[in-house]
Point group: C2
């Protein structure tokens, strides 16, 4: 998205990235997954399927969405996949959200 504003007022690159991060979290099932992983550290896809009232294929889709956005990592282990949070990414997201409520001059990210 091209903006009609001087660079010192906006940052289109971060805007796109930040919107994409929000989008990845913009569904209750995906929030549930992140919460769950936060609390049990790591688990198999099947565990998440058991927790959510959704079909296995749907859960797999949500996991892909979170993985593509960088919020979770999946480690293949035989026929299974073990998922865990990427806390670095969560931290980054948290910093960007903080920045949203502060003037540019006080922001820690670019």
């Amino acid at each position: 998205m091209d903006m009609n504003l001087p660079k010192n007022l906006v940052n289109p690159y971060d805007t796109e990235l930040f919107a994409a991060m929000c989008k990845a979290l913009a569904h209750p099932a995906r929030i549930m997954i992140v919460n769950y992983l936060q609390q049990i550290d790591r688990c198999l896809c099947g565990d998440i399927v058991d927790m959510l009232p959704l079909a296995q294929s749907t859960v797999s889709q949500h996991l892909k969405c979170l993985k593509d956005a960088g919020f979770i990592k999946g480690e293949v282990d035989g026929p299974r996949t073990c998922y865990c949070l990427d806390k670095t990414m969560l931290k980054k997201f948290s910093l960007m959200v903080d920045a949203l409520g502060k003037p540019t001059s006080e922001r820690l990210w670019r």
Copy 2:
């Protein structure tokens, strides 16, 4: 969304709310609007239309979306509407995002 997990592990109410907040921010144009309002404090709808490469009706739609989620407030002034951020809401969102990366026991919100 109904979960198959004990209450001590999840919080469906907050999950829905948080997902809705993320959704409201899950578009570059809406991030731009929040950023813009952060930097100029308050402005008319028309100013935002000038900034964004979008039709007036589309911008109005995005503003409604942010307003419905509580991130901005609109004060009608004659035929105009003056928009500004609701920093309380941004703060709340920020706290919820922080919580996402922490165990339940350390969370400041319910």
